[in-house]
């Protein structure tokens, strides 16, 4: 069947995982400003002297010895796709991504977070298989976990990874003049949305909106979502990278605002790579991909590099076969936004 050729099952017969939750993938994150307000309310927005960095970054880092730091993070979300194994793969990939975004790429351990409604407990094994497969791909180990019954399915992991302290990267170091790179194309939200409505009353509208087959777009998006950002993060060491973050539910624009706010700089984005066929789907669904506002799940890394070292970063990414595009530059504050961007279909 077609789904097998695409590398995932379209779940014609099994339960549709995505129907058990009202928000999907990283779009179930609470809003950025709500989160900032919550942290302030809870007194968690102050400096933490015990840590190299913590709240406000993608992951926290604690120095253990002179040459070793442990980076920890947790991430889980509701199903982005009906195939349980693919869901597990993407969830684990996304969880590890926060550590990679901080430059921690070694000795990964995964504590699995799994919650399923009672009628979906048969899906637990394939979800765990998917998580285990991703862990293996990044030379990680599953060290345990916690499973509960939950009305909405959730899956992900708490991840620890290590790095020498001087190889860690935050969002704070970007300076005007730096160049910005992105290591995956955007468009996972419209791609997955289209898969959910490709049959039934809206099937014709959705397939007529774009020149590509909806399942092919979905397969592309899934392939990007289950590609770990580890190789991209390893390339950081060979270039003067000044800041990095991963693109998630806040979208390219939200993540740029986050980085710019932490570094007290501006950002101008003028080139946006997107998965082929996702722009018209985003327009149809009102998702905001053209504005950089479409949520991404397990997105690529947004990396700022000193302009003099941009060639080194490109060479290091190319040497590892990591997709990358220059998407803009760091400017003087306070403007952050897209400036008449060109969209490149990938």
């Amino acid at each position: 069947m077609v789904g097998e050729d695409l590398g995932f099952s379209l779940q014609e017969s099994g339960p549709k995982l995505t129907e058990y939750a009202e928000l999907h993938g990283c779009s179930c994150k609470i809003g950025q400003s709500d989160l900032e307000g919550l942290l302030a309310q809870a007194g968690l927005d102050t400096d933490q002297p015990e840590l190299l960095f913590g709240v406000g970054e993608d992951a926290a880092a604690r120095q253990l010895t002179e040459d070793l730091a442990v980076v920890s993070t947790i991430d889980y979300f509701t199903p982005i796709i009906d195939d349980p194994r693919a869901y597990g793969e993407v969830a684990a990939c996304n969880a590890a991504s926060d550590a990679f975004a901080k430059g921690a790429t070694e000795n990964l351990s995964f504590l699995v977070v799994l919650g399923l409604p009672s009628e979906l407990t048969d899906e637990a094994a394939p979800i765990l298989n998917g998580i285990a497969e991703t862990a293996e791909r990044v030379d990680g180990v599953i060290t345990g976990g916690h499973s509960v019954l939950n009305p909405w399915p959730i899956a992900g992991a708490a991840v620890n990874a290590t790095a020498p302290p001087d190889e860690l990267v935050t969002t704070e170091g970007a300076t005007p003049g730096d160049r910005l790179y992105l290591t995956k194309p955007l468009g996972t939200q419209p791609a997955m949305g289209a898969l959910r409505v490709r049959e039934g009353e809206f099937g014709d509208q959705v397939s007529e909106a774009t020149h590509r087959d909806i399942t092919e777009i979905g397969a592309d998006a899934l392939e990007w979502m289950r590609t770990p950002n580890r190789a991209a993060a390893r390339a950081f060491r060979e270039a003067p990278v000044t800041a990095a973050t991963d693109i998630t539910g806040f979208g390219l624009l939200g993540q740029s605002q986050h980085l710019a706010g932490n570094a007290r700089v501006g950002i101008e984005l003028d080139h946006v790579p997107v998965i082929e066929g996702t722009l018209p789907l985003s327009d149809l669904f009102g998702y905001g991909l053209r504005e950089g506002e479409s949520a991404e799940t397990s997105g690529g890394l947004l990396v700022a590099v000193d302009a003099d070292g941009a060639g080194d970063l490109e060479a290091a990414l190319e040497a590892r076969d990591v997709f990358h595009r220059e998407v803009g530059r760091v400017t003087e504050p306070p403007q952050v936004g897209l400036n008449e961007p060109t969209f490149e279909e990938i």
């Binding site: 928000l23 779009s27 959910r196 669904f285 009102g286």
Partner: protein, 87 residues
């Protein structure tokens, strides 16, 4: 003419597609009232409608304390104002 559609309980991208279907049947000067309870749908419906030349006004429901329910009033413009969705 004033039409009303309830997208309560519908998950994205369905609400935006449902609204689009109804709008295509309306004439310039008509108004569509959309009620829903899924916060991301409100933004998506507003974005796709405004992109296609419709005027969108948030109703009182959107300002209520529970934060989830919303009402949008969508005015179908004269054809000169902007392209309709089907075009």
């Amino acid at each position: 003419m004033r039409e009303e559609i309830d997208v309560t309980g519908e998950v994205c991208p369905r609400p935006a597609l449902m609204v689009r279907d109804v709008l295509e049947e309306l004439e310039p000067g008509d108004e569509l009232v959309v009620n829903g309870d899924y916060p991301p749908a409100e933004g998506n419906i507003q974005r796709t409608c405004e992109k296609h030349g419709y005027e969108v006004t948030k109703g009182e429901e959107s300002e209520e304390a529970d934060g989830d329910s919303f009402t949008l009033q969508i005015a179908v413009p004269d054809e000169a104002v902007g392209p309709h969705m089907g075009e």
